[in-house]
Each structure stands twice: as C-alpha cells, then as structure tokens.
Symmetry: C2
Subunit: 208 residues, 2 copies
C-alpha cells in the first residue's frame, strides 16, 4: 500500500490522521487533501488549537475537571451547593449534566472507570482525591454531604460505583445514584425488558 | 452553547476540529478529548505531520501531482509512456488509476474541474500548462501524443473535457476519453437506464 502515496509527507499526514478513532485510510486521505486545499494560516490555526489544548490544559484542583485555571467555573460558583458532589467518569458527562440545567451541586471527574480489561485500576482514577474531599466535607460545617454516583449502568460502571461506595464507608456521607427506569416519553412496547422489569420493581409513589 | 465548554482551550480545539468536512460538534469534542488522553508526543507528532504536509508539500513540475520533489516518481519513471497523458481532476484520481496497475502512461492533474457555481474557471486549473505540455510533445519526436480525458461524467466534468478538447484543437494530438458502459460484473436489471442505453448505442465488437 505504501507506494500508492505519491509523497511521503502525504503518507505521514494520512497515517497521523487515520490514528484518530473512527477515521479510516480513505477518510484520512480526504481530510489531508482538504487541509492541503485550505490557506496555510487556516491549517496552522487548526494545529495550534490542538497543540495549545494538550500543552496548556489545566485541571481544577477541586473536581479534576478540564479548566483554564486551577479552579473551574463550577467550583468557583459560590451559588452552587458545594456539599453535593456528583461523581462522573469524564468531562463529557459533566457537560451532559450541565446541559440539563437541573443540577446545582458540584462534580468530581474520575477520569475513567475501573476496567481491568483496559488496564485501568482504582489508582489510575481520582478516587483517592474524592475520598479526601468527602472526608474534609464531612468534617466541615453544614448539612450532611452527599455523593451522587453518576456512572454508567454496565458492569464496569457498577463495579466502580461499588468500589467508591466501599471507600466512602465510615464517612458521614450520603451516597446516592442516578434514578434508572423508563425514559420520559418512552413507549412500554419498545422498552428493553431489563429496564422495564426494574422500573416495575423500583416503582415510585404516584404524584399527580 | 459557548458556556457549555469548561475551557476556552477545549472550545477552540473543538471549533478547529469541527471545521473539517463531515465532522460535527459532538465528534469534534470526542476527538479533542481523545487527543487530550494521548501522550503529548503523540499529539505533537500528529500536528507536525499536518503542518509539514502544508508547509513542505511540492508539486511535480511536469504533471502538477503532489510530490516530495520537483519531479514525481511517475514522471521520473523512464519505463512509462511519456507520450500518453491522462488528464484527471485530483491527486486522488491518480491514486485510483495507479491502484488498478493497468496504466503505463503519465498524468496531468488539473487541480479541480470547471465549476462556475463554485467560482472555478479554466484559469484556476492547470489547463494552460497541459496545452504547453502537449504542444512540446507534439513538436518532439516519436508517436503521435495522446491525451486521455479521465474526468467525471457529470455536467461539470463534460464541460471541462469539452473545454480542454477545444484548447487542444490545432495540435497534432489524439484525444480520447474513458470508456463508459456497464461495469464488469454488473447486472442489467440494476443498471441505471442512462448507462444501459449508452452501452447499447456504444456497443463494441465481441472479442471472445
């Protein structure tokens, strides 16, 4: 395949672009030729934005969220409830929950979930920092602090939730998890049977 | 939407990545976070490969193909037929024809096709260089030179082919175009009627 490319520079660029997840060789070639057709300034702006992201990104000291400073805008917001900490796997999860506009507490970004198959153990995540944080919160004044485990519902997510739950045992901390059940507006006919079954078992008081 | 991003650096990177064709905001965020999770060296290698491509790329003086030097490997190959020139729109077309392994002539890359709707006129393409090249070839020794117009079969491709044909009028040059008809292995039942009709009109002598 190597001799197909008319230029080593092109080959290298295609190889680099196709290392991105979900980008095959054909798309990579299309993107490389697209970049080549752009003004140089535009391409340098593109590569600079990526370089600056990886070189200059910082993480909030409090919640480990991507941030431009040592304290993210959420942790710096004094109007939010700093005694309710929502534990999520990634930055994207924070963005999803923030987009709902319904949560006024703060976050803790784990940086992944426990996944032995991918070689990710508890020490690769920010679980220790979470425990320290909750220890400090439960020693401080105010209402009983709460941890909301907002991890995925698969085996790895459940494992991580359980691990964190065990680590928090002994602290005066309320631990909760996301409500699971049928989505609002979901049709019973098309619901998967696990979710439907659980939503019957975990039925809630009708509040009209 | 702006306040959704926890970091301006992230926002800038997502904006840059989503400027690529076919990449939306969600994919761009996924790619940005993927790059952020890679070793820095890997990301710098990625951006360097792209920067070097746009900064250092050269074009063959002969055929205008992307190349690492002033003469591409095809034009430098003395075993190829340099009096048969296949005219294509883009670098990708050269790669497609080379991949067939059935063509032993050389190429001429136009850099696009005439497309008034996209503001591309004949002077934006390398048509003048093609005419000069064919003029030189027809003045030189050897067999009658041939131009193969290997452009797309749509209106813009046909317009470009016709324009080039007119420009070459007066030169002692054979002008041909790609055979069009049913693909090898195509089923009559599923062929589009234009192609099927043309392939009857342009029927060829049966050579068993």
């Amino acid at each position: 395949m190597k001799e197909q490319y008319p230029s080593e520079l092109l080959q290298n660029a295609v190889d680099a672009i196709s290392s991105l997840p979900g980008v095959g060789n054909r798309s990579a070639l299309r993107l490389a030729l697209h970049l080549l057709a752009q003004p140089k300034d535009h391409v340098h702006h593109f590569t600079n934005a990526i370089n600056r992201l990886v070189d200059e990104v910082r993480y909030c000291n409090e919640c480990m969220m991507i941030s431009d400073s040592d304290h993210c805008s959420i942790c710096s917001d004094r109007t939010r409830d700093h005694r309710t900490v929502c534990v999520v796997a990634t930055v994207r999860d924070v963005m999803s929950i923030e987009a709902t506009g319904q949560y006024r507490g703060v976050y803790h970004v784990l940086g992944g979930i426990i996944s032995p198959i991918n070689g990710i153990g508890p020490s690769d995540l920010t679980i220790r920092q979470l425990v320290e944080r909750m220890k400090a919160l439960s020693a401080g004044e105010g209402a009983k602090p709460e941890v909301i485990l907002a991890l995925s519902g698969d085996v790895e997510g459940e494992t991580t939730s359980f691990y964190i739950y065990r680590q928090l045992a002994g602290l005066d901390v309320q631990v909760s998890t996301l409500a699971r059940g049928l989505g609002f507006g979901d049709d019973l006919e098309y619901a998967d049977s696990l979710t439907l079954g659980r939503s019957i078992i975990n039925r809630q008081t009708f509040k009209p």
